[in-house]
């Protein structure tokens, strides 16, 4: 019970906008204890925080299995055996007070890793100066890594990549690596199938095995050879049988692994626990795990545990970089039964369960290269959980008490992961929208808000999904919507290469030459000083973008081929009904595709484009020779001239001269760089501009730009956001500019960062102002917006005395992070963003 005194104190914290102290008082003792016991695995700058280690168990087990493999067995078998061995041998644990169990790694402070994917990452981790491995293990790990070097997925991919492709991946100028260097994926579950339980999947595999085996042997009423062979149709069954066998092993291993948790909880309850209440909880864990090891969940605590196990098991097979799911929708039937209809559990207790699940999610991370740690500085995801939206069958509002409870739990736990994406639509119930606003007001930086109607239309228009399919969408990673049905759920992260697109501007100006690496990096599109018309320059720029996008799609698809043929993901394949039906790996079976190309550092070049048109072609104030000289000098000695380029109309001010050029360019990019490409599943991708912290990382990778940016300066932080501080005409002008883009047809999605004034949005008046702003946003058909609501005064104070602000959170771009864990440069760019008065 909260006393009057405590209530007053908590209100005081809210009034002073000290939301972290409020949360500290408002959350339960259990949540507080669990929260303080969590190891955060995100990076500070580009280093894991002290005490975090890389788990060597996966390396040991994988090496054992692969070194002793049967020389004639198919690749899928070895992989499945290695995964199964991990699940059988990895130490497991139950944290004090926890009611949700399951972690990817042998101890709470380690990050699980297998040496199978990229030797670049293996060696990056091994050579990390902070000592990510214990001294006693280094010798044998080194031996294992030497053995793995020519056998990794990276090595296999590099066999078929050209020298230039390999260099482009490694240099990270137009991309941030490829799948073979990053070794991560983003698999979206076939939700209904995954919730049927492991027993069901094993039975389905058995049935398919029997069917294929009978046919291969021609079994009928006379036994084998009742039917003659049809080799073209029958021989592929051999591969299918191999795949199905491998899938079955991974499913059986999952069952055994979950049963280990069941046993451990029982052993703890019966032999070690003295507190009678905790004994009951441990026995509940025991029963839950025993049941869901094979059966589908029936209660809310079982469904959450099942869902958590799914995502942890997925991480044992491959380092997953996201957590695509829709928890309020998936768990609603269980919530309704247990909280509303049968009253098996109190609502407050569900909030506690969800809070705990958020913490169990927050503590996960993957073995990242130093580059990727820096790209996600302060974050460990982005693990975007999708909430809100509509019911796939009826199209009615899917917001529920569970949605509200999830948002309440988020304010109580205040973790940077999971982060949330809310599917905002015209029928969403007001009390849930209010909860969304409260999270933003509490400074969490989430949920980010997505235009449900626009994104559903986008998916139907570009990929031909039915409306029922499109309405199932979840965030595949930070931004990209993806369906979750049998035919549509996608197993790979298409945007894996993550394009860096603003170098196209430098390439167009310097005939494909890159002033930073001083290499011929793009196409030869001609000497820009001879381009007497604007169109000539514009076309050269589009050609450079083609070079960038096409290079990366080629690499991505080649990587996919290698995975399909040599380095399959077996466990996740079993999680797709269509793969079990076909007996093929998820990389080979063609989903009804949904490809996209994540594009970072995207908007800067457009403001540069406008400046070039205005100052070189329209007003003829500068020549190309002058601009080239100024860019090569990084504007040094040309500050007065640089200010000329800065004063040219900029995106986000509802300026028609500027906006018309930029809107047309977006269309052209889609038509001329995306539509001509066809990926494995037969679809054309769409580009998806967004940034995470790439805009900071690339500040020294991209040369000076005609928008006035110097080498060293960060790039624009959003996907369609104006440059920080360059939006001068207020929030409506920003929305008007961004609303001119075609959010249904021209791209997959795009990211709009905005900052709001916390003082202006205080109290009930603040709620009304916010809802008014959101109506304008919704009417303009903009697919995304996310907010920071922390003032510069607080941020400056946190820069000065970081030890006093460990709980202060901000939205970076696509994810939230604790402000004091960001680099100084990243902090400064967040402070430079315009605070909008709405």
């Amino acid at each position: 019970m909260v006393t009057k005194e405590e209530e007053k104190e908590m209100q005081g914290f809210l009034d002073k906008k000290q939301y972290w102290w409020w949360a500290d008082k408002a959350r339960t003792t259990r949540l507080s204890k669990l929260r303080s016991a969590v190891w955060f695995k995100g990076a500070r700058g580009s280093a894991y925080i002290p005490g975090v280690k890389i788990d060597p168990c996966g390396c040991k087990i994988y090496t054992d299995v692969f070194q002793s493999k049967d020389p004639v067995e198919p690749g899928a078998w070895t992989r499945a055996k290695a995964d199964a061995a991990v699940l059988d041998r990895i130490p497991i644990f139950v944290i004090d007070d926890a009611r949700i169990v399951g972690y990817c790694g042998a101890a709470p402070n380690v990050i699980f890793w297998i040496p199978y994917f990229a030797h670049a990452i293996n060696e990056d981790l091994y050579n990390d100066r902070s000592g990510l491995f214990e001294e006693k293990d280094r010798e044998w790990i080194k031996k294992d890594l030497d053995w793995w070097r020519p056998r990794t997925y990276q090595a296999a991919c590099e066999r078929i990549l050209t020298r230039k492709e390999k260099m482009e991946s490694a240099l990270a100028i137009i991309t941030l690596g490829q799948a073979h260097l990053n070794g991560f994926e983003t698999a979206v579950f076939d939700h209904e199938w995954a919730f049927k339980g492991y027993g069901h999947i094993i039975n389905a595999i058995d049935a398919k095995v029997k069917e294929a085996r009978d046919r291969l042997q021609g079994i009928g009423e006379l036994g084998p050879n009742t039917f003659p062979m049809n080799a073209p149709e029958d021989l592929p069954l051999i591969e299918k049988l191999d795949n199905l066998q491998a899938m079955k092993w991974t499913m059986e291993a999952s069952v055994r692994w979950i049963k280990r948790y069941s046993r451990l909880a029982k052993i703890l309850a019966e032999n070690f626990e003295t507190n009678p209440e905790r004994k009951i909880e441990l026995m509940r864990i025991h029963e839950t795990c025993a049941k869901i090891a094979t059966e589908p969940p029936e209660h809310i605590w079982e469904s959450i545990q099942h869902h958590h196990f799914l995502d942890i098991l997925k991480r044992y097979e491959c380092s997953e970089t996201a957590w695509p799911s829709r928890p309020d929708f998936y768990h609603w039937p269980f919530y309704k039964k247990d909280v509303i209809d049968e009253k098996n559990i109190a609502r407050d207790d569900v909030i506690d369960y969800i809070g705990e699940w958020q913490l169990r999610t927050f503590e996960t991370n993957r073995p990242w290269s130093r580059l990727y740690r820096e790209i996600m500085t302060g974050g460990s995801g982005p693990l975007v959980w999708t909430i809100g939206g509509v019911d796939p069958e009826t199209g009615e509002d899917a917001c529920s008490d569970l949605t509200d409870d999830i948002l309440t739990a988020a304010r109580l736990t205040r973790t940077s992961e999971p982060t949330y994406g809310f599917r905002w639509h015209s029928k969403a119930r007001p009390q849930t929208l209010r909860q969304v606003f409260e999270c933003i007001r509490h400074g969490l930086g989430y949920p980010s808000i997505r235009h449900d109607e626009i994104l559903i239309q986008n998916m139907m228009t570009n990929y031909g999904y039915s409306v029922e399919e499109a309405r199932t969408w979840v965030h595949a990673a930070c931004m990209s919507p993806a369906c979750t049905t049998k035919e549509t759920a996608q197993p790979i992260r298409y945007g894996n290469p993550t394009i860096v697109s603003s170098p196209a501007m430098s390439f167009a100006i310097f005939d494909g030459w890159d002033p930073v690496t001083k290499m011929q990096a793009g196409h030869h599109t001609g000497d820009v000083t001879t381009f007497d018309t604007w169109e000539k320059f514009y076309n050269a720029w589009i050609k450079q973008l083609q070079y960038i996008y096409w290079t990366l799609m080629r690499g991505l698809e080649k990587d996919r081929w290698i995975r399909m043929k040599q380095y399959p993901r077996v466990w996740i394949s079993a999680m797709y009904e269509r793969c079990v039906d076909a007996g093929l790996s998820c990389d080979e079976v063609k989903e009804h595709g949904n490809p996209w190309m994540t594009t970072s550092c995207h908007m800067d070049q457009f403001d540069g484009l406008v400046a070039v048109k205005k100052l070189i072609y329209d007003e003829k104030k500068y020549t190309w020779a002058q601009l080239r000289a100024m860019l090569l000098a990084n504007w040094e000695g040309y500050e007065r001239e640089r200010m000329d380029f800065i004063r040219v109309p900029k995106w986000g001010n509802d300026d028609s001269y500027c906006d018309d050029i930029i809107v047309k360019a977006h269309k052209d990019i889609n038509l001329q760089t995306q539509k001509p490409q066809t990926e494995w599943c037969g679809n054309s991708p769409l580009y998806l501009p967004e940034n995470v912290s790439v805009y900071v990382v690339c500040s020294t990778k991209i040369g000076a730009q005609p928008n006035g940016r110097r080498w060293g300066d960060t790039l624009y932080d959003g996907g369609c956001s104006p440059g920080a501080g360059l939006d001068k005409k207020g929030p409506t002008a920003v929305l008007r500019s961004v609303g001119k883009l075609d959010h249904v047809r021209d791209f997959k999605a795009t990211l709009l960062n905005q900052r709001l004034n916390p003082t202006q949005l205080a109290g009930e008046k603040g709620v009304q102002l916010f809802m008014g702003y959101m109506r304008a946003w919704h009417d303009l058909g903009i697919d995304h917006v996310q907010f920071n609501m922390v003032d510069n005064e607080t941020l400056r104070a946190a820069q000065k005395e970081p030890e006093k602000y460990p709980e202060l959170m901000v939205r970076v771009a696509g994810y939230s992070a604790h402000f004091v864990e960001l680099s100084r440069k990243c902090q400064d760019t967040i402070m430079a963003r315009t605070v909008q008065e709405i």
Binding site: M643, S699, G723, K825, A832
Partner: protein
């Protein structure tokens, strides 16, 4: 320009450019070549000052 940390004085170009904190104004950080401290400067003002100095010397 002068480093406020160690007093080193030199042309703006000898201080390594770091980044701008205000993209619409000429304010930026540079790094002192002697003590590696960060110095915030007005690029435009400094450039005009250096230009005048050169003209005066001629």
């Amino acid at each position: 320009m002068k480093c406020q940390h160690c007093g080193y004085e030199g042309l703006k170009g000898t201080f390594r450019y770091l980044y701008s904190t205000t993209p619409d104004a000429p304010i930026a950080y540079r790094e002192c070549p002697k003590c590696f401290g960060w110095v915030q400067i007005d690029e435009l003002e400094e450039e005009e000052r250096e230009r005048k100095k050169v003209t005066a010397q001629k």
